[in-house]
């Protein structure tokens, strides 16, 4: 099975560690999965700080009632751009970066299947992002209609509508190419013996996510193209006066938007399913259930989109269908949480930084899941919809869910990438500072939402003042804490003197840990021979 043509292997061996010379040559023309992964991750971190600074401005204005700092127009730009930047600039590219770095190493491949397309799909992104961010400096400013771009409001913008739509088109193309590459790699490049049902759960989560991306990104492209022609070419897809329907946009948008939510969380599920077994020193509980629950979450995510629209006036049957469908997602998600806890049960647990983030993920993502089930209940959602309760819900899912998953992954694999150990002390300081502040930031938002504070408002009644001030203090604290993260990464990559071993973590299983640290420029030039004890989930047949 693992027999390799020695001639081919020799050629590969010759190329080993032939990094291109010169900064531009290496980073601009690179087709190497690790370099491209690094580019994605650096890009994502940059976008995270830009989107985060927008959030800081939002929280500064909401620090107390009354408008102190800005006009409402600018506030609306901030909320719109914060959403777009964090989703398309920070979270999604971070997961693609992790996929690029880890998937070839985890399945025993030398690189991604389509390396040139890989380069192209990354290098579209900075330009798309530039188009998006430069709008803020255009006359008339950036888009103010929210990241959901609901017409007719979104069409009231000026030139920024065109900029935003082209930026979204480019990001969509980039995502689709990234997804094609990941599917091609996983289906074609696995080392002999790496059967589908032996793949690490992170690889599974990305395989499923990639199919979701290919399914829904073209739908988003269609929706924004219709916005474009409505705005500039006289069509009336969404103009009621011309026979169009504003609600149709919402249906199309959320047909993309709900699977998108899972695009941003499934890879995090995968990461957590790698980290918890490592630091519990025990195989992942219920490997097959984990894979099947990923698949059923992905399927259900495609048929529940209108739960974002319970207040638009759907027919009774529609409200009930989307309520039941949404509640069902609680079941596979519950299975995942129970399986993570069972993995820790009777393990031998240690608390390195990746494990701390993984534990926080399980606890806090579950809070987001609870409020998600509450939002699924249609009559209750008539109250929750478009309030801070929903803001709290999706930030628990996306910040303490997706983002904590990414941070856990960075701490987990950084020693493998850089060959150095990060500072465990500062990693833990970053963790505790983040996990406390993020709750000070988002938990009170549940209360103001239930008390009646709508989202996307720049100013509010004094009754909401105390919790908003608390939330802002948590926000600034959380924002500042992320400079510790930046510091830990820079220190680890450039200054740390503590070398990482190949294994890095005592309980780590999986092919990536059989490579030296830092991982060689080309991962597996010859397919590795795989034994069951190399896999994080052990032997899945019993």
């Amino acid at each position: 099975m693992a027999a390799v043509n020695p001639a081919i292997s020799d050629i590969h061996a010759d190329e080993h560690d032939h990094k291109p010379h010169g900064f531009l040559h290496r980073w601009l023309f690179t087709t190497n999965h690790k370099d491209i992964g690094t580019l994605y991750l650096v890009f994502s971190l940059t976008a995270f700080f830009i989107g985060g600074s927008f959030a800081m401005l939002i929280r500064a204005e909401l620090f107390q009632p009354g408008l102190q700092l800005m006009q409402p127009e600018f506030f609306n730009q901030l909320t719109t751009m914060h959403g777009l930047i964090m989703i398309f600039g920070a979270i999604m590219p971070a997961f693609v970066g992790l996929a690029n770095w880890m998937i070839p190493m985890m399945i025993g491949a030398p690189d991604m299947a389509l390396p040139r397309m890989n380069n192209w799909s990354f290098w579209i992104l900075p330009f798309a992002f530039l188009l998006l961010v430069m709008e803020v400096f255009l006359p008339g400013g950036g888009p103010q209609g929210g990241w959901t771009m609901y017409p007719p409001l979104a069409l009231e913008g000026g030139a920024n509508v065109a900029f935003m739509i082209f930026a979204i088109h480019l990001m969509g193309i980039s995502s689709i190419m990234g997804a094609i590459n990941i599917i091609a790699t996983i289906l074609n490049m696995r080392a002999p013996g790496m059967d589908l049902l032996k793949m690490p759960v992170f690889v599974w989560s990305w395989l499923i996510t990639a199919f979701l991306l290919i399914m829904v990104m073209p739908v988003l492209a269609g929706a924004v193209t219709m916005l474009l022609t409505d705005k500039f070419f006289g069509t009336s897809f969404f103009h009621a006066a011309g026979g169009g329907d504003p609600v149709m946009f919402q249906h199309i948008f959320w047909f993309f938007g709900h699977p998108e939510v899972y695009i941003m969380i499934l890879p995090a599920f995968g990461i957590i399913s790698e980290i918890i077994p490592t630091f519990s020193r025990k195989p992942l509980f219920g490997y097959q259930a984990m894979v099947y629950s990923l698949a059923s979450i992905a399927f259900l995510s495609c048929i529940v989109w209108a739960h974002h629209m319970f207040a638009v006036g759907m027919p009774l049957g529609g409200e009930l269908f989307f309520m039941y469908g949404t509640m069902l997602i609680g079941i596979p998600t519950g299975v995942k949480v129970f399986n993570w806890v069972s993995t820790m049960w009777k393990g031998s647990i240690t608390f390195e930084t990746p494990m701390l983030f993984a534990i926080a993920f399980v606890v806090l993502f579950t809070i987001g899941g609870f409020s998600g089930v509450m939002c699924a209940i249609v009559p209750a959602d008539f109250q929750y919809q478009d309030t801070y309760f929903v803001v709290a819900h999706f930030h628990y899912v996306l910040v303490t869910g997706a983002l904590f998953g990414i941070m856990a992954a960075v701490y987990y694999w950084l020693p493998k990438w850089s060959g150095n150990m990060y500072s465990e002390k500062w990693g833990k300081i970053h963790f505790w500072s983040s996990v406390i502040s993020v709750n000070v930031l988002f938990f009170p938002q549940h209360f103001v939402g239930l008390a009646g504070m709508p989202r996307r408002i720049p100013d509010y009644n004094v009754a909401f003042a105390d919790f908003n001030m608390m939330s802002s203090i948590g926000g600034f604290w959380f924002g500042l804490s992320q400079f510790i993260f930046l510091g830990v990464i820079i220190h680890c990559v450039y200054y740390s003197r503590q070398r990482a071993t190949a294994q890095v973590w005592e309980g780590a299983r999986g092919l990536e840990w059989t490579l030296p640290s830092p991982a060689p420029y080309h991962s597996f030039s010859t397919p590795p021979v795989i034994t069951d004890d190399m896999l994080a989930h052990g032997n899945v047949t019993h």
Partner: protein, 298 residues
């Protein structure tokens, strides 16, 4: 500092006590933690399904987090825990897939009955048409017990809040008071007057962009969408003033188009409606007179 903190706590406690005693709260209260029970049978049931879902989540949370905390203390390497080898338990997996199904059905059942009742606008006794504009609401009293009325008016943010909310006004939002309550951004020039104990049907639409009409004490919000007409209804049990806000981003002054519903006894409402009707009729004749002359000349 301390005394103002104590005052705040007292006010919050007073608020909670009022909520508990069933008195209608017109405003959100400082440190308010939960959804208002509201002043209609529907809003009480909405609060009911909300609390049911909440306590189910709390119960599941106690079990899951309890198991997790136990594992994190008990199975530490530093306590000499030796990892087990197992990675499956079909019985357990079946149990924790089946029990959530039962819990979900138990939650969906009352919710379904409630959605069905909320959708039933039949046998309403009056109709109010609500139209959202950037950034105000128009209320048209279409009919009252089958009799058409010409009464309609526009309701916008009150002048005091509007003065204070200008960027850099330097004015204190705490100073915007009415009837001993702070009404900053929650007050209008003309509230929507409704009779107590009457089933009111709302037809809701918008003229420019999408808005959403929301009064938490009535238990629901409904999007106001240009080109579409949405229906909803309420029957208010208790007289009082109930405040809400537009809940769908609708442009720069989205945060500044509040909703105030004033529920009054039926007799008082009928008296008010009659006054409004005669005022509307007078205005109509005054307007129509020159038009009529031109028409005969033509």
């Amino acid at each position: 500092m301390i005394s103002s903190g104590v005052m705040r706590v007292r006010r919050a406690v007073a608020g909670l006590a009022m909520a508990a005693s069933g008195l209608a709260l017109a405003n959100p209260q400082p440190w308010q933690l939960n959804m208002p029970t509201g002043v209609t049978s529907i809003s009480e049931r909405v609060h009911g399904v909300h609390m049911l879902a909440f306590w189910v989540c709390v119960a599941i949370g106690v079990i899951v987090y309890g198991a997790m905390v136990y594992a994190l203390f008990k199975f530490r390497k530093s306590r000499g825990a030796v990892p087990a080898k197992w990675s499956h338990n079909t019985t357990m997996e079946l149990i924790w897939t089946t029990i959530p199904v039962i819990i979900l059905v138990a939650m969906a059942w009352p919710a379904t009955k409630l959605v069905v009742d909320m959708a039933n606008v039949e046998s309403s006794e009056m109709t109010v048409k609500i139209t959202g504009y950037q950034w105000k609401w128009r209320y048209e009293y279409v009919e009252y017990f089958g009799k058409a009325t010409p009464v309609n008016f526009v309701s916008t943010l009150d002048a005091e809040s509007n003065r204070v909310r200008q960027t850099g006004s330097g004015l204190d939002p705490h100073s915007v008071q009415e009837g001993g309550e702070n009404v900053y951004l929650l007050n209008v020039d003309k509230p929507l007057l409704l009779p107590v104990g009457v089933k009111v049907r709302f037809v809701i639409t918008a003229d420019d962009v999408i808005h959403s009409w929301w009064v938490p004490d009535l238990g629901w919000k409904q999007d106001a969408i240009p080109g579409l007409i949405n229906g909803n209804w309420t029957r208010i049990d208790t007289a009082g003033t109930y405040r809400g806000q537009c809940a769908e981003l609708c442009g720069k002054d989205h945060g500044f188009m509040p909703i105030v519903v004033k529920a009054v006894p039926k007799a008082e409402f009928e008296q008010w409606l009659a006054t409004q009707e005669s005022a509307a009729a007078a205005a109509k004749t005054a307007q129509a007179a020159p038009v009529a002359t031109t028409a005969t000349q033509g």
